[in-house]
């Protein structure tokens, strides 16, 4: 095999692997990107020597194509490695349109009631991309939906009138969906935690998500076997604790606390994981160019060497 082919093809393979196995920390490491550049540099230098020995323009073009393809792929790989953001998870509330500047657009989270609906990435001058469980390429990112647990809450007064839920510190102000992104330690357990306000009752409510075993540990009486539960703690509007203000809502059953009837229903809802990757178009173009060049180089099985210069008599 010609000396320039191996480093060029290794460089292309490394970048293609960034698309196939995205999200590895190595891709952002200095040594990885230096290695990519070094491989391409070695390929270019070796190819230059090889060109001098070639006579046909077709063989030269094929060799150039291999090196050019490797350069394009390596540039895409290094750009992703050096400029690409770290892996990031976008957690949105049902119905929320979240601006995602890193992705060059907005993520539109569907209502939980819309069965089968997927999160969509909307970008100017692009078709919307539906993001499901399978990886989707979006330019310089690979996106996939990751299910996580959220809690839908309902609050009523003692007469059963439904009350508005607000989240002054949440991602969406008027939302009954708690995203449970914070953590709190209770009885030695590290648990998902969130809070909301019930302005009509001048109450602030803290909510902690418990799995069935944790719920049973905290309250055998209120827990339901096999059902996740939500522990509510109600404070006044100045965050001061109130009497009889802690209740457990298991399996979506209502629970009374500090004059409110609270109901927490645990549901699975998608978040979007965005992994930086080399630009798909560039990698595809570079790989095709390199493969075409490889085919051309192999077709010219034995390179035609220039005849030696005539000996001086």
């Amino acid at each position: 095999m010609n000396a320039f082919l191996a480093p060029a093809l290794v460089a292309v393979s490394m970048v293609v692997s960034q698309l196939i196995l995205p999200g590895k920390a190595e891709y952002h490491a200095g040594w990885y990107n230096v290695l990519l550049v070094a491989l391409v540099a070695v390929a270019a230098i070796a190819a230059r020597r090889y060109f001098a020995a070639l006579q046909t323009s077709r063989a030269r073009l094929a060799a150039w194509a291999v090196v050019a393809g490797a350069v394009i792929c390596a540039a895409a790989g290094v750009a992703s490695g050096l400029f690409g953001a770290d892996t990031r998870t976008y957690v949105g509330a049902p119905g929320q349109r979240m601006r995602a500047d890193d992705l060059g657009g907005s993520l539109v989270f569907p209502f939980a009631e819309d069965a089968g609906a997927e999160v969509a990435l909307e970008r100017p001058l692009h078709r919307p991309i539906a993001i499901g469980g399978n990886a989707r390429n979006a330019g310089s990112f690979i996106l996939r939906a990751r299910p996580r647990e959220i809690v839908f809450v309902e609050a009523r007064d003692a007469r059963g009138n439904r009350l508005t839920i607000t989240q002054p510190t949440g991602a969406v102000f008027l939302s009954p969906a708690l995203l449970m992104q914070q953590r709190q330690t209770i009885a030695g357990m590290d648990l998902p935690f969130d809070s909301f306000a019930v302005p009509a009752a001048r109450r602030i409510v803290k909510a902690v998500l418990l799995d069935p075993q944790q719920a049973a540990m905290l309250s055998q009486a209120a827990a339901l076997p096999g059902k996740a539960a939500v522990l509510f703690a109600v404070d006044d509007e100045n965050d001061r604790p109130l009497p009889h203000a802690i209740a457990l809502s298991a399996g979506g059953r209502p629970a009374a606390a500090a004059g409110l009837i609270l109901q927490g229903t645990v549901a699975t809802y998608p978040a979007v994981e965005a992994v930086s990757s080399p630009a798909l178009v560039a990698v595809a173009a570079g790989t095709l160019l390199a493969l075409a060049g490889l085919a051309g180089t192999l077709a010219a099985r034995r390179p035609t060497l220039r005849p030696p210069p005539p000996e001086r008599s």
Binding site: G95, R123, G139, P278, V281
Partner: protein, 176 residues
């Protein structure tokens, strides 16, 4: 290598560089947050119930200008704004509809509130607070004005005066 080939290679290299690096520096236009960033978007249409339990939807008002006001009975600025909204509805009865969308409360509570203030425009009950989420409301009240084609023309966070309401709807009411 002849001149034209050099140009071709240069242009291709430039295009390649743009393709490779552009995504890392691409950024969405800085639209304002909340309802003020909505203009130009199609107003979402889905069915709700009004305060009497009848089905209600924006689709029924296509061809009219719609002023959607998101409110709740516990919100003092919402209460203050209601008479001006009724005045606006009375001012343009043939071209404009004001809809009060109650966010998260019971129909009985919303109906009692509307009756106490003498509100005659339609009151819808958005118990799941869907419009609040879709319109990215930053607080209550929030007002969204939808043109005759069903597209959001203006979005406002906070209470409006009658003059502000009129200035926002007048060009839409005049246009066909």
């Amino acid at each position: 290598m002849n001149r034209s080939l050099v140009w071709l290679v240069g242009v291709l290299a430039l295009a390649g560089a743009v393709a490779i690096f552009e995504p890392f520096f691409a950024s969405n236009s800085r639209a304002p947050a909340g309802p003020e960033g909505l203009p130009g978007q199609a107003a979402p249409v889905f069915e709700l119930r009004d305060d009497r339990g009848a089905p209600a939807s924006l689709a029924a008002y296509r061809g009219r200008v719609v002023v959607m006001n998101l409110w709740a009975s516990w919100c003092p600025p919402c209460r203050a704004e209601m008479p001006d909204l009724q005045r606006l509805a009375d001012r343009y009865p043939s071209a404009l509809t004001v809809v009060g969308v109650n966010e998260g409360e019971s129909a009985a509570r919303a109906a009692a509130f509307a009756a106490a203030l003498g509100i005659r425009f339609p009151v819808w009950i958005d118990s799941a607070q869907r419009y609040g989420r879709l319109y990215g409301a930053l607080g209550l009240p929030s007002t969204v004005i939808v043109n005759r084609q069903g597209v959001v023309a203006r979005g406002f966070d906070g209470a409006l005066t009658f003059d502000q309401m009129q200035a926002a709807v007048a060009p839409l009411v005049r246009s066909r």
